[in-house]
Symmetry: C2
Subunit: 350 residues, 2 copies
Amino acid sequence: MTDPTPGKRTELSELGEFGLIRHLTENFTIEQPSTLKGIGDDAAVIDYGDNVILVTTDLLVEGVHFDLAYMPLRHLGYKCAAVNFSDIVAMNGKPRQLFVGLSVSNRFPVEALDEIYEGIRLACKRYHVDLAGGDTTSSVHGLFLSLTVTGEAAKEDVVYRSTAKENDLLCVSGDLGSAYMGLMLLEREKRVFEVDPGMQPDLNGYDYILERQLKPEPRTDILELLKTAGVKPTSMIDISDGLASEVLHICEDSKLGCRIFEDKIPLDAMTVTAAEEFNIQPVTAAMNGGEDYELLFTININDFDKVKNLEGISIIGHMTEPNAGVFLASNNGPLIQIEALGWNHMREQE
Amino acid sequence: MTDPTPGKRTELSELGEFGLIRHLTENFTIEQPSTLKGIGDDAAVIDYGDNVILVTTDLLVEGVHFDLAYMPLRHLGYKCAAVNFSDIVAMNGKPRQLFVGLSVSNRFPVEALDEIYEGIRLACKRYHVDLAGGDTTSSVHGLFLSLTVTGEAAKEDVVYRSTAKENDLLCVSGDLGSAYMGLMLLEREKRVFEVDPGMQPDLNGYDYILERQLKPEPRTDILELLKTAGVKPTSMIDISDGLASEVLHICEDSKLGCRIFEDKIPLDAMTVTAAEEFNIQPVTAAMNGGEDYELLFTININDFDKVKNLEGISIIGHMTEPNAGVFLASNNGPLIQIEALGWNHMREQE
């Protein structure tokens, strides 16, 4: 490889993912008046008159983002599409078009790609998204998927990460930590299988957390629910890297602190059972597990009455002034400062 | 890997790139009224009121699409961006926003990515495109780049591949085959270097064809020129895979035949010299070399007078009724049927 700057070598790991993106993009300027929001939210926001177009893109790498040993190809296709739709939903928009880049080595037959595309097709059909383009190329090693989704929203409907206000209530949809426990389970069964290929996987009774890992759904229904209730979130993000990481995004971008109450974090009974089995605190799975693709959002405190009884929405805390910091009030007393560990960190700790 | 359909294995090579895309996408239906054009042109066309948004996406793989042994990283970044801008230009649109997905293994230091992004930044600056998002992840092997570009056009300005008419004149911008000869030269010097790393590359006097390979430019200037002349192309495509492949796209999509005249194909003197050196017919480099990123377009025959004296545009043939086939009238007499060999095929023939 050509060495661009002999004598200087900064390892990628020194910067971390977000640090690297910041570093690489800091010299770019926005010139187009149509670019309402560039880097730094779930999706870009482009002004096209009365409506805006939302654009999000994602690159998924075999061995990094998915493991074909336990991720069926059809589920892989569905999940890749669904999590990108989720980025559009997190802007309070509707996903409309999908673009798929696929790079595979010769070890994959056409039938394998058919399975991936069948999963993508099912997700497109369910969420009324059109496959509108893409690129298919060969690779030297493994499978790469690049997805771009465009979405639509009325200009006044778009919800950013950066617009939470002090005293806003912090809400989350569904339950958290289940996708991570599903992953733990799949990885355990993979290890068992590697030791004894004759073993049958013991996945009975774990349907819910497995489905949460293998087939996440973008919460378009929550947007409908809020709209019907007459509530527009003041800020919103989807939970891909764990509650801790996402809440820090909202706090940093909105320049606020926040307080979350551990006993308010929604956990499914199966998540709790599985966490006990794996000797993990369920709240840790929720805070740092990721891949739940639930919505984390803030609402004005005046909307409390409209939201408090909505099924599938939990109020887990509130926004504070920035100097108050970002804390989790734990069940057993002390305030714990929230740090962004995220999914990668947890993986390294195993 | 999970084998989705035991007992059946179709190799990717059996379908070919276009066949594979057709196969994978044939079960998808378009539901959104905003999807004016999905798969099957240089870019998708999405209806957003008076204007449309154009979206194109590309996946580039180290060892398949580029070789870092002779492609400096800054040029790689510039070229990746430029060729995607070219797809928007080929729809008669203006590129506006860029989204970059980057996947790299640990062998790349941050400084290497800085070079890539500096190249991307230069291309963005030159063509007034905003970097508006992206995704950066680690890979197990090598470097992958996924680019998505959004562009803008007034609805009535968009030019498709499928709208050429019988008797339209076929035109091309710039000259052809030079990027391919630049590639030949770089590959020769790489082989020399591999045999004797002490050798200095002998690239003197080849600046033009090297630049054509390493730093292609989208022909936004040609769109301006045509607009000023009051000519709207009846169909258009950019030349990424070679004149033969692109002309077949226009013919197939417009359901027409065509006749190209070999002596009208624009060739730079340096392309001819280099082709002789490599024992290649210059017209072969033009027809099957690819990566010129010139515009191939058709115009109504009534616009002949407006176009005939425009600098940088050559009229190379005309569209015929479909049964007349797609032929090259060679200098030495016979009509040669044009087949899509394209870049990959030429590589296999080496």
